[in-house]
């Protein structure tokens, strides 16, 4: 059975329930009080991480790394939750996780950090990430990470990865028009930008958390500060539609759909 080194690229985003208000500061655009807002693991990266953990569990001898470029104090808070979900080793880069960074710079940081992982074996390397990010749907970062690492096998919007006994990979990717495409690949190394995958959030396991933290805390401490360029933005604003967050219960999916359609019609 093949054994993998699965490197998941994933960072943090502000908790989606927070008020997200773009403001322009001396260093370019950002979100109001961004550093003070609670953060969560980027949901797309989360799918990638949970798929990675599952793959590693089913392929004993595999190992999961999480490579994360984020302000390390915020990342540390998020690790308190994520660290209990699955065994992984953190590689932290102390950098902005804002949605206003230059994707090429972020990709360079991530690729550099991956290349520097001690004992990295490209023949077993699977690079995972989200196909986009909840803070900035650039949709290009993972490809650039792949290019920088010289990995040409790249799959985007992945919902399922099946590994054959011989290490071949069968990939289910989303394509336009709501269809899926199945591709196969001879094996590692390859890059996967995950869509939602199929897995629920793993059960909490505090023992795993304690185990992970012994390495996560030192990794955070030695995370090196790095900067990313900020593209120039002509203007930054909230989507025109006014956000109306409501928590509803007892509504059927049909009723919810009807309400959304009516709401879109208003705007």
């Amino acid at each position: 059975m093949p054994q993998f080194q699965i490197v998941v690229c994933g960072s943090i985003v502000p908790d989606p329930l927070q008020t997200l208000e773009p403001v322009t500061g001396p260093a370019g655009p950002s979100l109001k009080n961004e550093l003070m807002l609670p953060a969560v693991l980027d949901p797309w990266a989360g799918h990638a991480l949970y798929e990675a953990a599952n793959l590693a569990r089913n392929h004993p001898g595999s190992k999961v790394y999480l490579v994360s470029a984020a302000p390390k104090a915020k990342l540390q808070q998020v690790m308190m939750t994520v660290g209990q979900k699955a065994p992984f080793e953190l590689v932290a880069i102390d950098a902005s996780a804002s949605g206003f960074t230059e994707a090429a710079d972020v990709a360079a940081l991530l690729a550099g950090a991956i290349a520097a992982i001690p004992g990295l074996d490209r023949s077993r390397l699977l690079v995972f990430g989200g196909w986009e990010s909840a803070s900035r749907g650039a949709g290009v970062t993972m490809q650039m990470v792949g290019e920088r690492l010289g990995i040409a096998e790249q799959f985007l919007a992945v919902d399922q990865l099946t590994v054959g006994e011989d290490g071949t990979l069968e990939v289910l990717e989303r394509i336009e028009g709501g269809s899926h495409q199945i591709s196969s690949c001879q094996g590692a190394p390859a890059v996967f930008g995950w869509a939602t995958g199929n897995l629920p959030e793993p059960r909490n396991n505090p023992q795993v958390g304690m185990q992970n933290m012994r390495a996560i805390m030192p990794a955070l401490q030695k995370a090196k500060p790095a900067s990313t360029g900020v593209p120039s933005f002509v203007s930054v604003s909230l989507p025109k539609q006014q956000r109306e967050t409501r928590v509803v219960k007892d509504l059927t999916p049909d009723e919810v759909a009807r309400e959304i359609v009516a709401w879109i019609g208003e705007n």
Binding site: L35, P38, G83
Partner: protein
């Protein structure tokens, strides 16, 4: 129309997040605790909140939905947080702060869920505190959730002390539960029969074992004990019908009737045989003292969590109150601020928030001191065992000798010739920590829950009619009602006041209290805006009043400060709690100010947050000072008899007229004047004088003056509440 002055200072920008809390409550360096906070929060704001929103509180029965929470607790690590790693847990060392944080997180959404988890710990607590090491390892391991791959159901326990009326309640000595010897073969383990009827026993709907308090009904068994009963023991195990509770409905409560046979090895802490009698190592009283001294802190923190959880829903309600109406256009103050245009709405929310903060500060300080105390207590037992000091009484005597050393350390500090020796003396450390824990624990159980319940009502009232509906965001109505249970179970307020009556006069505690007055004055000089100096004045008044009452008798010559005189001791106990909570809040704000800059996520908004918290602390201090003044004055003056005209040494009116020629103006100053016919002004009698109490009246006047600036602080805090950024929606359903 806006009634709140605008200022341009840095102010509170967002609701304080985990980064701030970790510093204030001193677990920034503890990732084990940070993880348990996150996982408890996920359970609270996920499955617990969904159950409450779905109406699971509307039945008294223990339903499968409610039972599913136990598994959620197991998965989150909540159950195992009580155990040591070798018993299936994951937290090393003492776990008081961990359990406090868990209770806080669960009660943020529903205190009944918190109680359900806490009761499991309560059942184990007698075993944990006083069980033999075999009992500890056996039962704690049985209750640890299965590890992945393990196929077993964890055991659940209940703690049975309270009995049907007229037996155990506040008075824990009135035991009706009985133990008798049914078989005792020479050289073998005696077999006992235990009968126990319980009342209001939490977790009883599903408990696999019960730790029960019982008394001897057999001359071969000496005194009382706590004993472990298992559901598979021979006999009858009637769980009883569910209690028709108005509160905490996510926990299981019933009145069981248990009659089972158990081996004597189930006696918690073990036993010895002396003169043909089974002599338990610990009486039930000794065990429950050890248990409650720890577990009550977590209950106190449940109410704190609820107060703090009310802030966000109230802010959102206030802001959005008039939005959506045709007449109220976006951008207008009425649209943006809603009810926050009205000063009173915001002022009252400031009061709720300040109470929540102060009570949380007090509760977490209490939890932390137990984390310090627990290992010291073990060391104390080891030291005494080495020295051959056995039994509670002998230990007490030995500790009395250590008291002198503790006082020398506290009073002389570095000036003591034995400073470093005393500082390292573990018995001295034990005595100091236990004197604090013995005050902080009842204080937080009493004040957090009792006054917390009052302030929870205030929070509910800020939501108008919505507040008392099931639909109220944040379940504030439930939380209000639930607070009353927190004030009641594990010993109602009277029990806490009774304990404080004893522990707050302990000389080691008072020596620390003296030092705190100096500490608050110093903080006052560097951080005047905290109100620390006002607090020092209030503390001084408390100490003066205690001293005075301890050596004074009432108008009938009856001693004032006495255990049976609850009219004196209880209010004084209450007033101390106000001081302790305010002091701890101030210390936590200073901690944030000192260590915040090291944390990049905190540093960004630190200045404004510290400023806001400083104002909040000042508001709380002023409220505490008001209570102090009221309570102390009523105790100091209230037990004297009002002077009457008959025995009055008043001026006669003609005497005054003569005096007027020598002291012009005296006629207009004298109030209590009797005329030639003996008639006097229409009032209760001559005005009472403070003869001999001038020191008190000076303190009182000073304290009143010390309130200077406190309302300005409240205005600033209120203004901050009109600006602080809040999330778009609550992170749990309503």
């Amino acid at each position: 129309m806006a009634t709140i002055a605008k200022t341009n200072h840095a102010s509170l920008r967002t609701l304080p997040g985990d980064d701030f809390r970790q510093i204030m409550w001193r677990f920034a360096g503890r990732y084990d605790l940070q993880m348990i906070v996150q996982s408890s929060r996920q359970v609270a704001r996920g499955p617990v909140a969904r159950l409450v929103a779905a109406g699971a509180r509307n039945t008294h029965d223990w339903t499968p939905e409610k039972a599913s929470l136990l598994e959620a607790f197991d998965e989150a690590g909540i159950t195992a947080a009580f155990m040591d790693p070798h018993q299936g847990g994951f937290i090393e060392g003492p776990k008081n702060l961990a359990l406090a944080l868990i209770a806080f997180e669960l009660a943020w959404v529903d205190a009944g869920a918190a109680t359900g988890s806490l009761a499991g710990c309560l059942a184990l607590a007698p075993i944990h505190e006083r069980g033999t090491s075999e009992q500890r390892d056996y039962y704690l391991s049985k209750c640890a959730p299965p590890q992945p791959g393990e196929n077993r159901k964890p055991w659940r326990g209940a703690f049975a002390l309270t009995e049907p009326i007229p037996y155990v309640g506040v008075e824990t000595g009135l035991l009706n539960g009985k133990v008798r010897v049914v078989a005792w073969e020479e050289g073998k383990e005696p077999l006992l029969e235990v009968t126990k009827r319980g009342r209001f026993i939490t977790n009883m709907g599903f408990a696999n074992f019960v730790t029960a308090a019982v008394d001897s009904a057999d001359e071969r068994f000496k005194g009382s004990c706590m004993i472990i009963l298992e559901e598979s023991d021979p006999g009858s195990w009637d769980r009883g019908t569910p209690t028709r509770k108005l509160v905490h409905q996510l926990s299981s409560t019933s009145d069981p009737v248990l009659q089972v046979r158990v081996p004597a090895s189930r006696i918690i802490g073990g036993y010895s045989i002396r003169n043909g009698q089974i002599v338990p190592k610990y009486t039930h009283g000794e065990i429950i003292d050890a248990v409650f001294s720890h577990t009550r802190v977590t209950v106190g923190l449940m109410t704190s969590a609820k107060l703090l959880s009310a802030v966000e829903p109230v802010l959102r309600y206030q802001r959005g109150r008039f939005r959506g109406g045709e007449a109220v256009a976006p951008g207008t103050p009425r649209y943006e601020l809603g009810l926050q245009q009205r000063a009173d709405s915001v002022h009252r929310l400031v009061d709720v928030w300040a109470t929540g903060e102060a009570s949380a500060s007090l509760g977490f300080a209490a939890a932390r001191i137990f984390d310090v105390l627990d290992p010291l207590e073990k060391r104390k037992d080891e030291i005494f065992a080495q020295r051959g000091v056995e039994g509670a009484r002998a230990q007490l005597k030995a500790l009395m000798r250590v008291e002198k050393d503790a006082l020398e350390l506290l009073q002389d500090g570095e000036h003591s010739a034995r400073y470093s020796q005393l500082q390292q003396d573990e018995l001295v450390q034990f005595l100091i920590a236990s004197s604090l824990a013995n005050v902080l624990c009842p204080a937080c159980k009493l004040w957090n829950t009792g006054y917390g319940a009052t302030m929870m009502r205030e929070a509910v009232s800020l939501m108008g009619g919505y507040g008392i509906t099931e639909d109220c965001p944040g379940f504030l109505g439930h939380k209000w009602m639930d607070s009353q249970l927190e004030a009641t179970y594990e010993g109602p307020e009277a029990v806490q006041r009774r304990q404080l009556t004893l522990t707050m006069t302990n000389s080691v505690f008072l020596a620390q209290f003296h030092e705190w007055i100096r500490e608050m004055r110093e903080i006052g000089s560097t951080h005047p805006a905290t109100g620390a100096c006002t607090l020092a004045s209030a503390m001084q008044m408390w100490l003066w009043t205690l001293n005075h009452l301890q050596k004074t008798a009432d108008a009938d010559g009856v001693k004032l400060y006495h255990g049976t005189r609850q009219g004196v001791t209880f209010p004084l106990a209450d007033s101390l709690c106000w001081l302790l909570a305010s002091r701890q809040f101030i210390l936590d704000v200073l901690e944030l100010e000192a260590y915040g800059p090291d944390h990049p996520a905190v540093a960004e908004g630190l200045e404004g947050t510290v400023r806001f918290y400083t104002d909040l602390a000042h508001v709380q201090v002023a409220r505490a000072a008001g209570e102090l003044g009221r309570i102390c004055a009523s105790l100091v003056f209230g037990y004297m008899r009002h002077p009457v005209w008959e025995s009055c040494n008043c001026y006669q009116s003609d005497e005054l007229i003569e005096l007027e020629s020598m002291i012009p103006g005296i006629c207009s100053c004298a109030v209590d004047v009797v005329d030639a016919e003996g008639a006097h002004p229409a009032k209760a009698g001559p005005c009472a004088k403070a003869d001999g109490l001038e020191a008190f009246t000076r303190l009182r006047t000073r304290l009143d003056c010390c309130l200077t600036g406190s309302q300005l602080a409240k205005d600033r805090a209120a203004e901050a509440l009109t600006r602080v950024m809040i999330p778009e929606a609550l992170d749990y359903p309503a």
